[in-house]
């Protein structure tokens, strides 16, 4: 049996198949070495004529030893990455229950639209007159986002959700500073996404927690008490950052009251829009008093995660924050022409108080075209059904499993688009990690685990709207079987995954002593 350095087996365990293969491959499960192990540093993938001997003009700075890069031919390189990609899990392979991430199907229609040359082959430095169609798309998408959220404006340039958060918080800072009211604190609920406190701290604020009540929602009274601290007219709270629906999978029913209390204290409300998929077309955050909210186009509007680099996280803004939004953005004049508003022409568009610019250009065109294609192909009624089906699917998962897994907020009413379970009731010595690893054997990417932090051994499952009942039933069956084994104390679970390309890896050692650079085996050994 092959072992890693710590003496753990690296191959699947199979009592029947005792014979090792010559190659180390198991049929289509291929053992893939590193590129450096495949390649030969003394070879190159292309034949080049020897360069004519010319006198060096580097004055003694010539390279005096080989660079040490692996020499690889094109087929070797292609095979390496293709083989690795086969070990990957993807939304195109199966249900991807990663809660809080909204691993949505990416419709192929989006791809067709995004590849149209007028969108795919434009350059941000092209003369504006040659990209009117692309600008029209950005403006149209902005219109949809504003309409769906009930807000006043949108900053399209932020490149990701967390970048959008920073954009929103910088708008809040600019608005407060404009009225000469520098404040120091951003309040964040205990169940917040980790990026929320990070964003607030990055923008120079001090972060304080708002506790949750027994229901798993924000404790409104505690919030009011904190806002009132310091007496009337002397509030140090710049704003709150709230995720709604929250990460416990629940809708913050008191959202309007929360917003009112924050506004009354002179603060602003930032809503983390990561969970917008649960309410799109049903609830407009603007109606709940939200001042700024980022929208992860990849979560709610089906663009690929990461966007092929970079992503896109537009931020919708309330009337109060709009004047401070970043440039550039698009604006349509009465003659129907869409303009790109930048430093030079901001005054013409009455946008003189912008906090500045976050990125060089207007945003991620490839994501804009895909998101707009998704919106227009679904229509307003279709998007509403997206939210309904996402919530229905999550509730189906929640209610189908709550007899075998502990659902800490199962009694708080229906969940939104995520079902949350805890590790309560598992046999002694069995954890959420065991369940996650066993799900890999069942052919699923594990659910989100140990988040939100307020729930012990949390398992957050988000099936998304496109999964059929049959697909959900199979997943539920797999999770039920694994959970039952963990409750019964089936020790074989500790060995999971046994069918994956690698057995259970030592995540602790990987974090404590990461090996980040490949070195020749003899060099690596000598260093130890």
């Amino acid at each position: 049996m092959s072992m890693n350095r710590e003496g753990r087996p690296t191959r699947p365990q199979d009592a029947e198949a005792t014979s090792e293969t010559f190659t180390g491959n198991r049929a289509l499960m291929l053992e893939e070495p590193l590129l450096f192990e495949i390649g030969d540093a003394t070879l190159t993938g292309v034949d080049l004529e020897a360069a004519p001997q010319a006198e060096s003009r580097l004055g003694g700075l010539e390279r005096n030893r080989p660079i040490g890069l692996a020499g690889l031919s094109e087929p070797e390189t292609v095979r390496h990455y293709t083989r690795l990609s086969r070990q990957n899990y993807a939304i195109d392979l199966g249900l991807f229950p990663l809660g809080s991430c909204t691993m949505k199907h990416n419709p192929r229609l989006n791809e067709k639209v995004a590849r149209m040359p007028g969108f795919a082959d434009v350059h941000p430095l092209q003369p504006v007159d040659t990209v009117r169609g692309a600008l029209e798309v950005i403006n149209e998408l902005a219109f949809w986002l504003i309409d769906l959220t009930g807000m006043d404006g949108v900053a399209m340039s932020p490149k990701a959700g967390a970048h959008g958060e920073l954009c929103g918080i910088l708008c809040i800072r600019a608005a407060l500073e404009a009225r000469g009211d520098a404040r120091e604190v951003i309040l964040v609920p205990e169940s917040a996404h980790g990026t929320n406190p990070a964003t607030a701290a990055f923008a120079g604020y001090r972060v304080e927690n708002i506790p949750a009540n027994a229901d798993g929602r924000v404790d409104l009274e505690a919030l009011k008490e904190r806002l009132g601290k310091g007496g009337e007219g002397d509030c140090d709270v710049a704003g709150v950052m709230i995720t709604n629906p929250n990460t416990c999978g629940l809708f913050e029913r008191d959202m309007k009251a929360i917003s009112d209390a924050v506004h009354e204290a002179g603060g602003f409300v930032y809503c983390d829009g990561a969970n917008f998929n649960a309410i799109v077309g049903r609830v407009r955050p603007g109606d709940l008093g939200v001042d700024a909210m980022h929208i992860n186009l990849h979560k709610t509007f089906s663009t690929p995660h990461g966007g092929g680099g970079p992503g896109s996280g537009p931020v919708v803004l309330s009337e109060a924050l709009c004047p401070y939004g970043p440039i550039p953005f698009t604006a349509k004049t009465k003659d129907g022409v869409v303009h790109l508003v930048e430093e030079e022409n901001a005054a013409e568009f009455d946008h003189n108080d912008s906090f500045g610019r976050m990125v060089a250009f207007h945003g991620q065109m490839g994501m804009f075209t895909r998101a707009l294609a998704y919106m227009m192909s679904h229509g307003a009624d279709g998007l509403k059904q997206v939210a309904e089906d996402a919530v229905l699917n999550a509730n189906y998962v929640l209610r189908s499993l709550e007899d075998v897994l502990d659902a800490p907020f199962g009694k708080s009413g229906p969940c939104m688009h995520e079902a949350l379970f805890s590790d309560k009731g598992l046999a002694d010595g069995f954890s959420t990690l065991d369940i996650a690893k066993a799900l890999i054997d069942e052919g699923y990417h594990p659910m989100t685990m140990y988040f939100p932090l307020v729930v012990h051994g949390a398992m957050l499952v988000e099936p998304t709207e496109t999964e059929s009942k049959a697909a959900l039933d199979q997943f539920i069956g797999a999770l039920r079987s694994v959970a039952a084994r963990a409750k019964a104390g089936d020790k074989s679970l500790h060995a999971a995954p046994v069918h994956a390309p690698r057995r259970r890896l030592d995540e602790t050692a990987a974090a404590r002593k990461p090996v980040l650079v490949w070195r020749e085996p003899e060099v690596a050994e000598a260093a130890e």
């Binding site: 685990m449 932090l453 012990h456 995540e507 602790t508 974090a511 404590r512």
Partner: protein, 123 residues
Amino acid sequence: MARYFTEEHEWIDVEGESATVGITDYAQEQLGDIVFVEVPEAGTVVEKGGEVAVVESVKAASDVYSPVSGEVTEGNSALEDEPALVNSSPEEEGWFYRLTMSDSSELEGLMNEAAYKDYVDSL
């Protein structure tokens, strides 16, 4: 020497004006394998309840709050290379920092060992 505990699962050993702070056995148990610890440098002025250190496990990153106000005299540099000490010896070798307390009356609201045990049992 007297040992006190906080609701945030820090312990503090007090001897005169100086004190040593770490996280409890219960805390390390909940966090799981610790992979990274950031302790304050000597000279850092900390406030009671203020964030003073960071502890990261395979599951989560958490802040450590100072049980009392004062000035840090020493951070436990051994944790940099061996964060696992927090798992193996949370209440001895895995201490986080030492400080000189500025207001020993702040100790009054903290729990003693028996009270902390009851508190943990109630969670």
